[in-house]
Amino acid sequence: MKKTATLLATLAVALSTGVSTQAAELRMSWWGGDSRHIATQEALKICGDKYGHTISPEFTGFNGHLEKLTTQLAGGTEADIMQVNWPWLPLFSKNGDGLADLGALSDIIDLSNWTEEQLASGSMKGVLNGLPVSTTGRVFMFNEGSYEAAGVAVPTTWGELLAATPAFKEKLGDEAYPFDATTLDVVLLVSMVTTQATGKDLVDPATNTVAWTAEELAKGIAFYQNLVDTGTIRSWEGAAASGTDNLWEMPEWADGHLAGSYQWDSTYSKYADPITVGHLVPVGILTIDGAVTEGVYRKPSMTFAISKRSKDPQAAAQVLNCLLNEPEGIAAMSDQRGLPSSKAALAELEKLGKIDPTLKAANDIVMAGSGPTVSPYNEDPQVRDTFQSTLEEFAYGQLSAMEAAEIIIDGINGRLAEL
Amino acid sequence: MAGLQIRNVEKVYGNKFKAVHGISLDVKDGEFMVLVGPSGCAKSTLLRMIAGLETITAGEISIGERVVNNLVPGKRGIAMVFQNYALYPHMKVFKNLSFGMRLQRRPRAEIESGIGHVSRLLEIEELLDRLPKQLSGGQAQRVAVGRAIIKKPEVFLFDEPLSNLDAKLRAAMRVRLTSLHKQLKQEGLSSTVVYVTHDQVEAMTMGDRICVMKDGRIMQVADPVTLYDRPENTFVAGFIGTPEMNLFSARLHKGASGASLEIGKQRMALDPSVMARLTLGDAGEVTAGIRPQHIAPAAAGASNTLEGRVSHVEFMGHEIYLHVVIADNAFIVVTQSAGFDRAKASEGAMHFTVAQDALHLFDPVSGKNISLGS
């Protein structure tokens, strides 16, 4: 029964598109959480059935995915279809020849669903290597219930957030914090306030060096320290005690004792779902006094790419188009990767009412935010590592803010020179 | 039916240590040949070379006219009984006995009749279903012999097979093995035996001939009586017989009035018969040897005696061992305990007569017996 249906579907597709593709065995790899895994596997089944291909899934958490992908690409064992983080494109395909040219597959993939600007962001040296799946950015989210309990309003500026701290301690106890940031969040938080003060992104695209002076960065770092000192956020050390980096796994997050965070809009539901006390709301970007810009951290989130070694790129392109542009695939994929960049997908999801209004609200904040263009080098693994581990040393009191700023700038400049 | 020929066989180990120095030995068909010598004399090495368990550096070994140097042990027509019996611990006695035949894929009926015969011969029928660890020492020993016999080899090799048994059992097994050898011979089966032991009693009681070895060389090959009576050198003389032959330095004088032997400050006239036996005519330093049984307390008034002092008397029951010092040489004298006057011995000085027909004289440098006649 099913076989016949598949056969018919294959025939229909073959006739309608005029591209004769045989049933192919494909692989697709991605990272994510459980709900993304479930949705994507379902979508692959549907799209596979539609075109008569079988696609075996390979998925992991985000940790270690870059390593794995690099290993596979170096070993020539990568999947046919890959979810590639946007900042990784220059790592894998510096000259546009490390991944398949999707432009050459435009007879199968309907590229009209993306804007020129979006396609440009997925291209390396003018070759379209990755199709942007969504645009994402960091967004503030607060547990409204906790703020109500503390008797203060959800903050819209850093000043209000700092002011809320005493009320939290008084009403909810010493172990309650109106906000939380640790490890990577701290990097992005320091970047944001520094950008707000200077109006510049970390990397100056003109000179390919760090745009900030050490004094400017030191101020940003001091700002973080102030949040810790006032008890607005947990110290780096204190946050490490739980033995896990994942805020959503923590009981303190679920019960509202950690009442806010600064996270990707696309992960909004991951943070909202576990909350048992109160509920999460997305909030506009908090700014410092005298901010030049909001300093929104916005970027194409991830892209889908096809391996240049794929035995059947046409089949892979069919699956890709199905996932991103065709109703069945769109419905199955849902909003598990944030709000889709593809116009067709966005329209279809809106029509189906599948767009989580809070996710939409979070994304709207990101899209509306102002700020300089974010360089992909912000997320170069070594740049990140330098930034984060130096901040850690600062947080443990081993460096002064100024020393930390200098080390970070030196280290990143060194890396940028290699790139 | 085969004998064993060993021709100029040498063994040199990787570290250039020469263990066997050009040994030649003929073992006749049906002969019970014992290799005996102190530990480290390479007797076991020689046996293992015959078996094929050690490589042969030079020379040739043949079994029944067939050179076996390059044959694996299983193809040499030999069977071996090991010191520790080497029964396969994971196999029952039946399987232990039949292992070799099974490897040769002999028919089952033949295996069973062979085992039946051997187990009756050695009285191990009730043991067939046991594991080696359930056997006593003597039983394991019999099974090990059975495993050798069942192969119907051309040559049997025994590597100190009795050394792990207690004294009583050892004595019993000696008799048993000897009679087994006779029985095999009577049945017309091949019964050439090479038997390694360090125990000279075993060698004397069991061997048709005995090959005495020392430091990788053959000292003498002869039947037990010859070996005892006519040792070719001081080593054999000292090795064979209990208690050991008394060996001492002496000086041979030849004069007009006859020959004499000077021991320390004492002098003993030698019979002309002794002189007749000498193959080396010169007077001078010699090593003299006399077995403890051939020297005796002198009868009253006897002449041509040696004077010694008794240091110690050991009562052995039927016999008495006297530890005597004669001219600074330690002697053992064996005498009948009946009629021996212990009080007299404790007085100190005693006189002893030497049975001159049993006196041996050796070249002090080469150790060769120069009194064997020609």
Binding site: E249 | P73, L87, Y88
Partner: protein
Amino acid sequence: MTTTALSAIALETERTNRMTRRLQRISAAVRYLILAGVGLVMLYPLIWLIGASFKTNAEIFADPGFIPKEPTLNGYINGWKTSTPYTFATFFWNTFLIILPKTVGTAISATAVAYGFARFEFPFKKLFFATVIAILLLPNVVTRIPQYLLFRDLGWLDSFLPLWVPSALAGDAFFVFMLIQFLRAIPRDMEEAARVDGANTLQVLIFIVVPLLAPAIVSVCLFQIMWTMNDFLGPLIYISSVDKYPISLALKLSIDTTEAFDWNRILAMSVLALAPSLIIFFLAQKQFIEGISSGGVKG
């Protein structure tokens, strides 16, 4: 001496005896106390793990005891299903597919190699034996990178081959070494008797050496199974497809991708991951202990 003095001595002796006995009893009690205390500390984490895997999420961090108040199987049910299209059974099966050729290969190759080293003379024997010791001491991080490149060039990435082929070629020096030590302790007479009985060296190996060495070989297999089960870095580097994941990677995957706080699920999966090792160990603990005792001591 008077009778009173005598009885005083007797009393004194009696008293010392009693004291000695009491001291002995006390020292035995102290020993048991230490042993039991240490044992409890040693095993409590595991006991807690098993208990906690039946707890509800809320209870896991609420109470240090291991007995769940409201026992639930949810952790196991969700854990078994996993977030992948595969159940935990697939990962067990994958682990098995690695373990089987690896263990069989190790047993055969390590036995043959140990036999070669312990019973034969051949050119360069000392040199080769020195390499066994050297590999024992060589940290494998040194060779990991070129090995990875090698397997990449062989096209073996994302397959089980890199995980078992080196072991099947006697690559685990520890096992070779252990078997050599065992074999050296076994007298050669039995093998020589078999040679005299007409067996060739291969027959000696199969009919005599293998049965004699069987306990050691079983130990080797058991250790190999355990170590393979625990191996994480190997699969981490070489396996990329989820459908080929062994248990260790699957467990790590489930930790990384879990959403919300499904602690009991992770704990339940940890218990499942440990269960085969625990079961094998308790079935064959004697072999393990004998294996490690003799292998180590004779070294």
